[in-house]
């Protein structure tokens, strides 16, 4: 195992990145100055703002990897990385278009039919088409292959019945990208017979029920399908290849900047509040610890992003980014607590309010996108121990 085997080589960002970064910063500063958003932790889950998504799209910063023939800017995965890390670091409300931009665009570009691409990609690039993810089910959490939502073959399409859960934003989204069972298991081969379908949400037979988080917020839903007809045209890729299609996308989902920056605005606020204590050794030490780890995590995430942009599939490294990055997101909360002695206050301003929000969101950091325990299992398999 040569050094670097675990992690793809760290590659420099494209030359255009610096100019792009400064343009995004200018846009965000103007948005904040105009009072159009207030930075919050975990805004990629909790900041649903459709007009923000459209303003962002008007600048070409939604669906950036969509080629011009489908209404986008052309492939520029690393430039997209720069834009989304700027948005996340600013705590900007990106939740509405998040799944469309991160998940659906690469999925359709890789597997989608011409018809599906033409139907969805231009609208996504305009910041006007929002998706939810339909993976988890009540009895299929970490064990994703246990999904039981079923598509039954009917004339011209599939009749779908079943329940999806933890579907962030399904109550506002236009459609859901679902993994479901379209064929029987082949003995012990649990991964066969699964397929990916795009299901429009505003149609008869689809019921979206809210799941209220302990924050009192409504982000998650349970989505029930009762004999919903989904035409063949809504099938992504090949019937029966759903498992391979879903797992090939996971490196995107696990290694992005959203796996380390969910609490960045808290850290930013913290260093502001502690400015007068810049000479205090304990403060320096605690801030230095999280800052060095954040810096290193970002380099890891960039290394994976570079490999993805070059067409590689660094599954192990992506899992590692999520494991170390999401644990850091929670560590930032601990540092903020220890250094400020602020009591988390849901109605409070500044650190107190941010802490209240972050503390209640934190358990989700190491659960969503595959629990860290499952991810560490993937890493162990990658090290050839299983």
């Amino acid at each position: 195992m040569r050094h670097g085997t675990l992690l793809p080589p760290v590659r420099p960002l494209p030359a255009a990145a610096a100019e792009l970064r400064s343009a995004v910063r200018g846009f965000l500063a103007a948005e904040r100055a105009a009072g159009r958003f207030v930075p919050v932790c975990d805004a990629w889950l909790s900041g649903w703002d459709e007009s923000f998504s459209r303003r962002l799209a008007a600048r070409g910063w939604v669906g950036m990897t969509i080629p011009p023939e489908y209404g986008g800017q052309g492939p520029s995965a690393l430039e997209r990385y720069v834009v989304i890390e700027e948005l996340l670091a600013a705590g900007a409300p990106v939740a509405a278009h998040w799944v469309s931009d991160r998940q659906v665009v690469p999925n359709l570009l890789r597997y989608g039919s011409e018809e599906l691409r033409r139907r969805y990609l231009p609208a996504i690039a305009q910041g006007a088409c929002y998706f939810a993810i339909g993976l988890s089910e009540p009895d299929a959490g970490s064990d994703l292959a246990a999904v039981r939502t079923t598509g039954t073959r009917v004339d011209g399409g599939w009749r779908v019945s079943g329940v999806k859960i933890w579907t962030s934003g399904a109550h506002c989204a236009h459609a859901l990208i679902a993994l479901l069972r379209t064929g029987p298991r082949d003995g012990r081969q649990r991964h066969v017979g699964l397929s990916q379908l795009l299901i429009e949400l505003g149609q008869p037979g689809v019921t979206v029920r809210p799941i209220i988080s302990m924050t009192g917020e409504h982000h998650f839903n349970e989505v029930v399908f009762s004999d919903v007809f989904v035409p063949d045209a809504q099938v992504v890729g090949t019937i029966g290849d759903g498992w391979a299609q879903v797992t090939s996308e996971l490196a995107y989902e696990r290694s992005g900047p959203e796996r380390l920056l969910s609490t960045f605005v808290l850290l930013d606020t913290l260093v502001g509040e502690l400015a007068s204590r810049a000479g205090d050794a304990r403060t320096q030490d605690a801030v230095g610890r999280v800052v060095s780890r954040l810096w290193a995590c970002r380099q890891m995430s960039l290394a994976v992003a570079g490999a993805l942009a070059d067409g590689e599939a660094p599954e192990i490294a992506a899992a590692l980014v999520k494991d170390v990055g999401t644990r850091l997101e929670s560590e930032i909360i601990e540092v903020a607590r220890m250094l400020t002695a602020a009591e988390p206050d849901p109605a409070g301003a500044g650190i107190a309010g941010m802490l209240a929000h972050a503390v209640l969101h934190a358990p989700g950091f190491t659960l969503r996108g595959g629990t860290n325990e499952i991810l560490r299992g993937i890493v162990a398999r990658g090290l050839a121990v299983r």
Partner: protein, 340 residues
């Protein structure tokens, strides 16, 4: 095979040929492995990254960094990374590079004793300093007067007192800062190599060792710890790679006043992760890993030494923390995303 891969293969093979556990243990008694050193010097590996006209073997920081990484992985009992770093500091100042092993140190002042210099007893020590008159370099030819000492890996760490005959040369502005940066960077690279080796040794062990009728690797708890270890190894790898790239991009003349946060962050991360990596390696090896006979200790004792050398984590955390607090609200992110 690329030129870079060729170099890495050459250095790894050479270190492996000489790197039996017996040889490394014997070197601790004899201060170092002179035969390995000769082999490295003959191949031109000890002065990569320094120009040929000054006595180096050419190339830039990237091959030198690759060699240091390999030296860390091999627990090589020679001042290889130290010589590479010292050569680069001399070259930046346009000074000829003496033959033989070198050590690099940052001096508190002219004529001041240098503490715990790696291989000080047998190396030519290059001391960098800065004072009211500007930056300077002292070249303290061996044998200097030394107070011998060792680190917990048994590597020589000697207090060196410059003699009256030590040459002191004026050096370009920023020489002392550059020396401090390279010390941190090369120490981080050694740690990165050793951390990777600790992971390899542990993977091999848990696959071979059986308990309760199956390899340790089959136990989910063991897998979880192994993955946690891999996460730390990957963090150090990413951080050191990025620090090498940033140093390379900055060239010999980083912008005035730049703290080179990349190098600082890399050393902080390497120092912090070193302890976690060593602890998990030992936990998964069980009691056998704590013996003198077992090879693991050659790597872990170095991790425990190196993390506190050339900028201990506490110092790096404090410096980074200060810089982050100075950057302040709204300034932290731009500071973190600077290219260097």
């Amino acid at each position: 095979m690329s030129e870079r891969d060729l170099l890495r293969d050459t250095v790894e093979r050479l270190l492996a040929e000489h790197g039996t556990a017996e040889r490394i243990a014997a070197a601790a008694q004899a201060d170092w492995d002179a035969a390995l050193w000769r082999a490295l010097e003959d191949t031109g590996l000890t002065l990569a990254g320094s120009p040929e006209e000054l006595g180096g073997s050419g190339g830039d920081l990237v091959p030198a960094a690759d060699i240091a990484l390999a030296a860390g992985a091999a627990a090589a009992p020679v001042p290889l990374a130290e010589t590479l770093a010292a050569g680069m500091v001399l070259a930046r100042a346009g000074r000829p590079i003496p033959s033989g092993p070198l050590a690099l140190a940052v001096a508190a002042g002219r004529g001041q004793a240098l503490q715990r210099v790696p291989y000080g007893r047998l190396a030519t020590t290059v001391a960098a300093g800065a004072d009211g008159t500007g930056d300077w370099l002292a070249v303290i030819a061996r044998p200097a007067r030394v107070q011998p000492g060792r680190n917990v890996a048994g590597e020589p760490r000697d207090d060196v007192r410059p003699g009256a005959d030590a040459e002191v040369h004026p050096a370009p502005a920023g020489t002392a800062d550059h020396a401090r940066r390279l010390l941190r960077l090369f120490r981080s690279l050694l740690i990165a190599g050793a951390a990777q080796r600790a992971l390899e040794l542990t993977v091999t062990y848990v696959r071979e060792r059986e308990q309760f009728g199956r390899p340790l690797a089959r136990f989910p708890t063991v897998q979880q710890e192994l993955a946690r270890m891999a996460g730390e190894v990957a963090l150090v790898s990413a951080a050191t790679q990025a620090a090498v790239a940033a140093t390379q991009a900055a060239g010999a003349e980083p912008p005035a006043g730049a703290t080179m946060s990349a190098v600082l962050a890399a050393k902080a991360q390497a120092s912090h992760s070193a302890g976690i990596v060593a602890a998990i390696a030992h936990q998964l090896h069980g009691a056998i890993g704590t013996t003198e006979e077992h090879r693991l200790r050659l790597t872990t004792t170095r991790l425990w030494s190196w993390r506190d050398e050339d900028g201990p984590a506490s110092e790096c955390f404090a410096e980074l923390g200060r810089a982050a607090l100075r950057a302040g609200a709204g300034g932290l992110w731009p500071w973190l995303t600077r290219e260097r």
